[in-house]
């Protein structure tokens, strides 16, 4: 098994682990961490694709690399926004896990302008 394939399997496993964490963890902070794990796995998949595309004197296809760099920055921004939301929610309500939303809208009605 070539090293690229090995890393590809690693990426697949990371995707599965991250998705599992995102789906089942009750605490939102852990879900955000799992999302980052999932993102890392997806980027690694791009990296495997890039490595397989080595040609023309380059050890790795530059296009997927560029896509990953873009993706890493976007994922960081997403994490920052999610953390800011979580901290504000925690400060307001003391609750750091998302409960199921009420179906019949018994939340307090606030008038919106």
């Amino acid at each position: 098994m070539s090293s690229t394939t090995l890393f590809g399997m690693c990426a697949a496993a990371l995707v599965g682990l991250g998705l599992y964490g995102l789906l089942i963890h009750p605490q939102t902070l852990r879900r955000i961490v799992a999302f980052n794990l999932l993102g890392g796995g997806v980027f690694l998949m791009f990296g495997v694709v890039a490595r397989r595309g080595a040609a023309a004197g380059m050890a790795s296809d530059p296009v997927p690399q560029a896509l990953v760099i873009t993706g890493v920055v976007v994922a960081f921004s997403a994490t920052a926004l999610a953390i800011a939301l979580l901290l504000r929610l925690f400060a307001d309500s003391g609750d750091a896990s998302l409960r199921s939303p009420p179906h019949d809208g018994v939340a307090a009605d606030r008038t919106h302008v």
Binding site: L38, P64, V74, L89, P101, G105, D109, R110
Partner: protein, 495 residues
């Protein structure tokens, strides 16, 4: 490959409109951020007519003759470069988005505009900047022809839409926004995963090139399944709809209008691009039936829950969940079993019409409901009696929007359902006929529920806490009217 070498190609001048559609709102947003919140609304309101003009220019170039406008950004052609592309679908959605955003801008003046001399507030800077960013992101979704470029557009849209949900700062809306963000991020990362697999298999992310290269093999199938799942999570198709009702109901009315009318349609548009344009031959009948079955589930589940709501904004939000289901009915109806591929035809036109008419109707509906809630201080349906007498324009706007949602002639909703019914009957899929009819009945039930309550009389005339500007009611009315009159285009250019 000669088409990817570094020779800048002469771009047709019509293509510059495509660049303008994306760049103009972004530049306005950047200006709004650095010039301070007092000017933010003025910048946005000045930018809107020009953006609308750009959308009209593209529509006039593309719609009448069915041309396709393209633009290779930087002069680099795919597969190395990024292409922007406007076809009929793009032009119609660009125009819809521009109209809804401009109407929202006019409507939101009453909520988020500052008088001269007041310091910048959080709400005003955030709202106008985010609205402009939503507009730019939507335009890129409609014009993008590169799958990763579309991923960037989706992320821009998510980051702009999520803070709009919790703009009022209450804990309930914060929770709704966080849930929305988590679902949206899950959707984006799944979409990104599929994109990587497709590049690994085909060496390009351009939709047109993919369409030529795609083979129905395992990697493609996994990529398409993963991408579709991600996009369905962002479109809030049943059973991944959990985030939508609290988010759309909790947002300020102007934001709810944009969220329900436009933002959820962006990921749906990408499903169309993926299924119809990038890989039309990949699917089989079972896949399309499954997608539409989820749509039928959305229609029934959303409608039943809408009937059970006690708050008006939540009812409208569940109505969005249901109406999104209609959009997915077009997939099995557009599938040609003999050719084994999805074809553009009356089913696709019906789906497009449903998207556009729902956008106008839902925006008008949310605006009207928002005005009512502002005026009487709450949005409990049981307490709506007397509104008919006190705010007739708003109620009329709500009613007209309901006409289009139910699908009564001559509304756009009627024409859309008519086209879908014709396609269903022509292909012998009578079960979708049943779904369409029953869905219409359910919609009628919850719209009438509200109207009957609102037209009820009270002993004393209803006192409004806050007087509502006439022009805001008229904005809602004009949007609903557009939804109702949309069906008349059957006698016009599309005849």
């Amino acid at each position: 490959m000669p088409d990817s070498l570094a020779v800048p190609l002469a771009n047709p001048s019509g293509g510059l409109w495509l660049v303008a559609a994306i760049v103009w709102p972004v530049l306005a947003a950047l200006l709004a951020i650095c010039s301070g919140g007092r000017l933010a609304d003025r910048i946005a309101l000045l930018a809107m007519p020009i953006g609308l003009g750009i959308a009209v220019a593209i529509a006039m170039a593309v719609l009448p003759v069915g041309h396709v406008l393209t633009y290779a950004v930087g002069g680099w052609n795919p597969p190395l470069g990024i292409l922007l592309r406007a076809d009929t679908l793009s032009a119609a959605m660009l125009l819809t988005a521009a109209i809804v955003i401009c109407a929202t801008g006019i409507f939101a003046r009453g909520a988020f505009s500052l008088r001269a001399g007041t310091p910048e507030t959080r709400g005003s800077l955030a709202f106008w900047t985010l609205l402009l960013a939503v507009w730019s992101a939507m335009n890129l979704v409609f014009l993008g022809n590169d799958l990763f470029n579309l991923y960037v557009a989706l992320e821009l849209l998510t980051f702009a839409a999520v803070p709009l949900v919790c703009l009022d700062g209450s804990a309930a809306t914060l929770a709704a926004a966080l849930r929305y963000l988590l679902f949206a991020l899950l959707g984006s990362v799944l979409y990104l995963l599929g994109t990587g697999l497709l590049y690994g298999a085909y060496g390009t992310l351009d939709i047109t090139l993919l369409a030529a290269r795609v083979r129905p093999d395992f990697a493609t199938w996994v990529a398409a399944a993963v991408m579709t799942t991600g996009l369905l999570a962002k479109t809030a198709l049943f059973p991944l709809h959990l985030w939508l009702p609290p988010a759309h109901a909790g947002a300020p009315p102007a934001a709810s209008a944009v969220l329900s009318a436009l933002v959820v349609k962006a990921s749906f548009f990408l499903v169309i691009r993926l299924w119809f344009d990038a890989m039309p031959g990949l699917w089989n009948s079972l896949a399309t039936q499954l997608l539409a079955a989820l749509g039928a589930g959305a229609i029934f589940y959303g409608s039943v829950l809408a009937l059970r709501q006690q708050r008006l904004k939540l009812l409208i939000a569940y109505s969005t969940v249901a109406q999104i289901g209609y959009l997915f009915l077009m997939f099995p109806l557009a599938f040609d079993p003999i050719a084994g591929r999805l074809q553009a035809g009356i089913a696709l036109t019906g789906g497009l019409l449903q998207t556009v008419s729902h956008a106008f109707a839902k925006a008008g509906m949310f605006m009207a409901a928002g005005l009512v809630a502002t005026a009487i201080g709450h949005d409990r349906i049981a307490g709506l009696a007397g509104i008919g007498r006190a705010m007739p324009i708003s109620l009329f706007a709500f009613g007209l929007a309901g006409v289009s949602l139910i699908g009564l002639p001559p509304s756009g909703g009627f024409l859309a359902k008519w086209l879908l019914l014709s396609a269903a009957i022509a292909s012998g899929q009578w079960w979708w006929v049943a779904v369409l009819v029953i869905g219409g009945l359910f919609t009628g039930a919850y719209v009438l529920l509200v109207l009957v309550r609102a037209m009820g009389t009270t002993e004393a005339p209803l006192i409004l806490h806050v007087s509502v500007s006439r022009y805001r009611e008229l904005t809602a009315l004009i949007l609903s009217l557009m939804a109702v009159l949309l069906g008349l285009i059957a006698f016009g250019p599309l005849a």
